[in-house]
Each structure stands twice: as C-alpha cells, then as structure tokens.
C-alpha cells in the first residue's frame, strides 16, 4: 500500500451530513472520506476517490464504539437511562428486604 500521505486528527476533519462521512481535502482537489462505521470498526484509513493517496485518521476509538445508526442509537440511549435509574432504586430496596415479591418496579421521577 505504501506510506500514508499524512496523519490527520479527527478534529481537523469536517463532517458531511448528507454523505455521512468525515472528510479532509486531498491535494488533488477531491477529498479523503471516512464513515463513522469505519471508525467504529477500528479502520482508520481514509481514501481519496480520485487518486492513490490515503491518510490515517487519528482519533479515540472509544468515541465511536456505539454506531451504526445514529438516530436509533440516540433514542435507545435515552430510554435505557430512565429505566436504569429506577431499577437501581428498587434494587437497593430488594436487598434490604431480602424477599421475592411480585411488586412491579415503580418508575421514580428523577430530577435531571
């Protein structure tokens, strides 16, 4: 494959909402592109469609672990959070009482 043309930090790249890729200009006039899915898969090579140059993207893989579908992931995360907190309260109560009951967990409003 050969050496990278450059190593670019993710902060220097721009996000294209329509194509859903991070991009950075290529010296040929086109641009290097990489998708979030690629970043989540630990692929860090962004390629240019018009020439042989490639760059390595410098980023923290942990920031991109939870992709592929941004919208679904976001709404799932929200509902997971509220369920998690009420479960915690009831878990403490269950430990204290040491009984198995049919009590349904009550949703406890939590202040943000």
């Amino acid at each position: 494959m050969g050496a990278y043309y450059d190593e670019v930090e993710i902060e220097d790249m721009a996000w294209d909402e329509q194509k859903r890729v991070y991009h950075y200009p290529c010296p040929c006039g086109d641009r290097f592109e990489i998708s979030r899915k690629q970043l989540a898969n630990y692929e860090d090579i962004a390629t240019c469609p018009s020439c042989s140059l490639v760059i390595r993207v410098v980023y923290d893989p942990l920031d991109y672990e939870d992709e592929p579908d941004d919208e679904a992931a976001a709404s799932d995360a929200e509902s997971d959070e509220s369920e998690g907190e009420s479960d915690l309260d009831n878990f403490e109560d269950a430990l204290e009482h040491l009984t198995i009951s049919d009590e349904q967990p009550r949703a406890v409003p939590v202040e943000a």
């Binding site: 450059d6 996000w15 200009p25 290529c26 010296p27 040929c28 006039g29 020439c51």
Partner: protein, 295 residues
C-alpha cells in the same frame, strides 16, 4: 460563498439560521473596531490583499481610523487549531476555528514591520516583510516553519500545503535561490535530501543560476513551478518539481519529481515560438500562459 465547515465564510455560525444565501459580506470593519478598543469606527477601509489556504483566510487591510491615523491590520478567519491565525492572549490554545475575522495575533507578526506578502498552507501561514525577512506561524509538524526566521533578503514566498518556499536574488548578478522546507514525501523540497530531518535548504536546480532569473514562484498543493527568464538566450523557461500523480509536471509519466525538471519549452527545443509568460499551480494541476510572437 461556499462551505463553512471551519468558519471559512468569516460570518459566524450560519447553521439553523434560515436558508443559505448565495453570498455573504464579511465584516472586516467591525473586527477592526473591536480590536482597536471598541468605539473606534473606521473612515475608510482598503483591502491590500486577500490570501487563502485550504481551511483559512488572511486579509491585509489598511484602515483609516476615526482619529485620523491610517494603520495596517492583518486579520484572519477559518481553521485556527494549529496556531495558523495566531493566538489571543486570553487563551492558552487557539480554538478549532474562528468564524469571524480576528487580528492575527502573534509576537513574530507584530514585531517585523510592514508585510508585503502572505502565503497559506494547510495548517500554517507565512509572511514576507518589506525588510526581506520571513516568519511563519501554525503547525510545524512537517518542518514547514523551520528556519524561516533566519532568512534575509527574500523577495517572494509561497506555500504548498505542507511546505514553505522563499525565493531570493542573492547578489547583483541576479543569481537566485529558492529555499524550501517542509514535507518531502513527494519530492516537494526539490533536492536529494541527505538527512531525515527537514531543514531549510536550496532547491537544486540543474543549471547555473547566473543565467536564470526567477520571475515567478507558483506553489500548488504539493508541487511547485518556477518561471525563469534566461539572460544568455532570452528564453523563458518553466521548471517544476514535487508530486506528479496527475501528470501535472508534464513528464509524460506520473512518477513524482524529486529535483526540478523543465516543463516548458518542451524537451526537444530550447527556444520556442510560444513563450511562457506566467505560471500557476493548483491541486495536481499546472498552468502556463504563453504568448506567440507575431513575426
């Protein structure tokens, strides 16, 4: 007009503020008023130069302030994370980008006097002063700023995306030199490099520089062109080196060119009816304007 990913439009954040307009006016006067203490309004504003790089912009303006004094200001906007637009004293590190014009704040830029030329790379900015000195700010990751402060008697500067070039007429005989520093992964430094570290050293032209007078230095994204006038036979020649993947160095191949080759006149002739009069270099593209003698 165009993209605003790095604040390059210079008009602030336009996301979510209605539909995009075909063009916007950048408020330079407002930026100067803010920098000069708030209440000062400029009487007249003269833009001396507008210089652009891939992600940032620098303008040189002469403003007539309300108290009568005309002053030169250097302002910039766009990508700033690597210090290519200077750093403001309130911050220890520059932000990702400036979306409105800011004075380019750097000790080096302030102290060296009037600026005669400005050139922008991908993450750095180079300045040429009336005194013939050069300075550079921004990223030095590829050595693109190395040694610039030691230069004297420079007549022209140029920047590729990751390199800086300074041209000088060294003596009364018109012997010229082009010094280069920065990335060399495609031969952009125009010389056979001996050490791994990039240093500011002359481009190795394969001719005696007494016969060739440098007329113009044109830097593309990763290649460089030079237009010379020959004193021995009056010919105009274009020489180039660097990245050649798109055949932009007219070699007939796409091999990168590590030391300068002549693009024009073509190999087979020394003097040609179409005489090169100007050159430009873009992103993997080269342009030569020629004139034909009408005799």
């Amino acid at each position: 007009m165009g993209a605003n990913d790095y604040g390059n439009l210079g008009i602030g954040d336009i996301k979510g503020k209605g539909t995009a307009r075909p063009s916007y006016a950048v408020d330079i006067a407002g930026a100067i008023a803010t920098a000069a203490g708030g209440s000062v309004v400029t009487k007249s504003l003269h833009v001396n130069g507008l210089h652009t790089g891939p992600h940032h912009v620098v303008v040189s303006v002469r403003a007539q302030l309300q108290d009568g004094e005309a002053q030169m200001f250097t302002l910039g906007w766009g990508a700033a994370r690597h210090g290519q637009l200077g750093v403001h004293s309130a911050q220890r590190r520059p932000p990702l980008f400036y979306s409105t014009p800011q004075i380019v704040n750097s000790n080096v830029v302030r102290e060296l006097g009037p600026i005669t030329a400005i050139s922008l790379g991908n993450q750095h900015t180079a300045f040429l002063y009336a005194t013939g000195h050069v300075s550079g700010i921004g990223s030095d990751r590829k050595g693109q700023l190395r040694g610039l402060e030691t230069l004297e008697g420079i007549n022209a500067i140029g920047c590729t995306w990751n390199g800086t070039y300074a041209a000088r007429h060294t003596d009364l005989n018109g012997r010229c030199e082009v010094l280069a520093t920065g990335s060399n992964n495609k031969g952009q430094l125009g010389r056979t490099v001996i050490t791994a570290d990039s240093t500011l050293d002359p481009v190795q032209f394969p001719f005696a520089s007494e016969t060739h007078r440098l007329v113009k230095l044109a830097c593309g994204s990763e290649h460089v062109l030079c237009l010379f006038m020959r004193s021995d036979n009056g010919a105009a020649e274009v020489w180039g080196w660097g990245w050649n993947e798109h055949g932009n160095l007219a070699t007939g191949s796409t091999e990168d060119v590590a030391t300068p080759l002549r693009l024009w006149p073509p190999d087979t002739v020394d003097i040609c009816a179409s005489r090169a009069v100007d050159v430009w270099a873009g992103c993997g593209t080269s342009w030569i304007a020629t004139e034909q003698d009408i005799t």
